[in-house]
Amino acid sequence: MAEVSLTSVEKYYGKFKAVHGIDLQIEDGEFVVLVGPSGCGKSTTLRMIAGLENISGGEVTIGDRVVNDLPPRERNISMVFQNYALYPHMTVRENLGFSLKIANQPESAIDKAVDEAAHILGLDELMDRRPGELSGGQRQRVAMGRAIVRHPDVYLFDEPLSNLDAKLRTQMRVEIKKLHKKVGNTIIYVTHDQVEAMTLADRIVLMKDGHIIQAGTPLELFDAPVDTFVATFIGSPPMNLLNAKISGPSMVLEDGAQLPVPTDAKDLVRDGQDVVLGFRADSLSPVGHGIEETGLKAEVELDVQLTEPLGTETLLFVDFGGKEVQAKMHNPRHVAVGETLTFQLQIDKCHLFDASSGRAIRN
C-alpha cells in the first residue's frame, strides 16, 4: 500500500524535454488514469515511476521512500508494458509465474496465483504456448497477467487494453475495476481511450506536450474543462466549439446569429471580446427530443446534413455558426438529410473560452 508523489519531475532525452516539471500526488489506493495525445509523455512518466528511465529533475516518492535512485526491483511495483515485453523463451505459464519464482514463492502458491490470473484473463488454453505463437491481443493479456499475479504497492499499466477487440476490452475493463476493488492497490493507468479513462479513473490526469493540463475526477474534466484542449479531448463526441464575439448581452456567431451570454459568464466577459463557445451534443437537441433542463435556452432553426442513428439516440450533424456541429436527438424519429428542424440550445450548459488563450472563462 502506498501513495505515489511526483514533485517537479522532469525528463530530458538529450536536449529534448519530454516531461516538464510534473507535480502529482496520488493517494494510497487511488486509481489514476494518465491520458493525452500520442507523444505527450505518458509512457515516459510511467517509466520514471517504474525506475526504467532515470529522472532528470525533481523527485518521485513511493510510500515514504524517495525512489529516484532505487532500481525497479526495490520499488515494489508491477507493470504492463506498452509493447508487452514478454519473455520470448518462456511459455505463457512461465511468463506469468516468473516474478513469483524470482521472489522464491513456493511452487503451489505460484501455480495458484498463475491459474487464477489466467482464468480472469481467459488464457487457460494457451498456458503452454510461447509468446511467438500468440496473437497481439493474447500477448497483451499475458502482459496483463504477468502484472496482476503479484500484489505490489503500485500497479503501472501502459495502455494494457489497446490491442483487444471491443467486447474483450469492455470485459477486461470490468476485471481491472474488480481487481482494484478487491486488492485496493494504487493504480496508475495510461490510455489513449477516453472512455477507458472516464469509466476507470478515480482521477484523470490529462497531459499534453509533457505538461499536465488538468487533473480531476472524470466529471470535473467533463463538466468543467479548463481549456479548449480538455474540452475536445474528454467526452465523445468531442465538445462543439464555435467562434463568437461578445456584443452587449449577446454573443454573435460567425454567421451573424445572436445568442444570449450564459448567466454564469455575464460578469466575466467584456464587450467586444473574442470568445469560443463550447457545448456538448447533449445540449443541442431538436425541440421535444432533448433533456429537460432549467436555465437559459435559445431556439435555432438548423438544416440536418447527416444522421448517425445509434439506437437510443441519433447524432445529427448540422451547420451552425458557420461550422458543422453535432447535436443529439433523444427518443429519435427518422430524420431525412436536408430536413430543417428547430433546435434548442441549453445556453446555461454552454462553456465559454477566451479565444486567444483558449482558457475557460469561469470563476
Binding site: G51, I77, F81, Y87, P88, R130, G132
Partner: protein
C-alpha cells in the same frame, strides 16, 4: 547433324562442378581408397595392393592412436570451455564500457590476426625453460628458483599449448557473444527488472538464453577448428617429448609424412573425422534447440 545441347543450368554449373570434383571429391575418394592399401609414399606401387580393413584394425588396437584421440578430446573440452568463459567475460565487460568500446573491440581481435605458426613460436619462446619469459619472471620475483620444464613435463606442456590456443582464439567467442549481446532486445530485460530480478538473475534468466544461439555457433566453429589443432602444437612441442603432447593431427602427419605410411594415416583421418562430426552434430542440435526456444526456429 544436330548437336545435342546440354541443359543450360548444367552448362552454367559445370565449371564449379569440375573444380569441386578436382579439388575435393577426387582427393577424398582417393584418400578413402588409399586407407584400404598399405600405401607408402616411398614405394608408390604399394598403392595397388588391397588389404581390406587391415589399417583400421591396426588403428583400433593402437594405444598411441587412442591416447592421441583421448588427448584431443581433453584438449577440446578444456580449451572450448575456458574460451567460452573468458570470451563471455570479455564480451560482458566490453558491453558495459561506454567509452572506448570501438577501440577495445579492435584490440581484442589482435591475436586472431597473427599466423598460428608465429603464435606457436612466440609461446615456444615464452615458455622456454632456460631463456623463456615465464621462468625468468618467476625466478626474478623469487616465486620459484628451479627452472620449470614448461614444454617438457606432460602436464605443463599440455597446459602451455592450451594457453597458447586460448590466447589466440578467445576473441572469436568474445566477438560472437558481443554480437549476441547487441542483439538482445531491451524489453524483456526491463520486464525482468520490474519483476524483481537482481543483476545476476537477469543474466541467468534473460541474457543467457538469448546468448545461447551465439554461444553454440562459436562452439561449432571452434570445435572444428580445435579438433584439427596442428600448427601451434607442431611448433611448440612437435607432439613430444615422447608423445606427451601428441594430438590426432600431429600423430597423423608423423605417420603420413615422417613414417611415410600414407595409407595408415588416411585411415586415422577417417576415424578421427568421426570426432568432428559428433561435435558438430551435437552443437548444431543445441543451436537449433536454443533458437527454437527463442521462437527464432522454423
Amino acid at each position: 547433324m544436330r548437336m545435342r545441347r546440354l541443359p543450360e543450368w548444367l552448362v552454367l554449373l559445370l565449371p564449379a562442378i569440375i573444380v569441386t570434383a578436382a579439388v575435393v571429391l577426387i582427393p577424398l575418394l582417393f584418400s578413402l581408397y588409399s586407407s584400404f592399401t598399405p600405401y607408402k609414399l616411398t614405394r608408390p606401387s604399394t598403392l595397388w595392393i588391397w588389404i581390406g580393413t587391415l589399417n583400421y584394425e591396426k588403428i583400433l588396437a593402437d594405444w598411441n592412436f587412442w591416447s592421441a584421440f583421448g588427448r584431443t578430446i581433453l584438449f577440446l573440452t578444456v580449451v572450448l570451455n575456458l574460451e567460452l568463459l573468458l570470451g563471455l567475460g570479455i564480451a560482458l565487460v566490453i558491453n558495459r564500457i561506454t567509452w572506448g568500446q570501438r577501440a577495445l573491440r579492435t584490440i581484442i581481435m589482435f591475436p586472431m590476426m597473427f599466423s598460428p605458426i608465429l603464435v606457436g613460436f612466440q609461446f615456444k619462446f615464452i615458455f622456454n625453460d632456460n631463456i623463456g619469459l615465464v621462468n625468468n619472471t618467476l625466478q626474478s620475483l623469487g616465486i620459484s628458483d628451479a627452472a620449470l620444464p614448461w614444454l617438457v613435463d606432460a602436464k605443463l606442456a599440455m597446459f602451455s599449448i592450451m594457453f597458447a590456443e586460448i590466447w589466440m582464439s578467445t576473441s572469436i567467442f568474445a566477438i560472437l557473444i558481443l554480437a549476441g549481446l547487441y542483439a538482445i532486445p531491451r524489453d524483456p530485460l526491463e520486464a525482468a527488472e520490474v519483476d524483481g530480478c537482481t543483476a545476476w538473475q537477469k543474466f541467468r534468466h534473460i541474457t543467457l538464453p538469448f546468448l545461447m544461439p551465439f554461444i553454440f555457433i562459436a562452439m561449432t566453429i571452434r570445435s572444428l577448428d580445435v579438433a584439427r589443432a596442428y600448427d601451434i602444437v607442431q611448433i611448440m612441442t612437435g607432439g613430444g617429448p615422447a608423445r606427451r603432447t601428441e594430438l590426432l593431427w600431429t600423430l597423423m602427419s608423423r605417420t603420413g609424412y615422417v613414417d611415410a605410411r600414407m595409407g595408415l594415416a588416411n585411415a586415422m583421418g577417417y576415424v578421427s573425422i568421426i570426432l568432428s562430426i559428433i561435435f558438430t552434430v551435437y552443437f548444431f542440435r543445441k543451436l537449433s534447440a536454443a533458437r527454437n526456444e527463442l521462437g527464432m526456429g522454423g
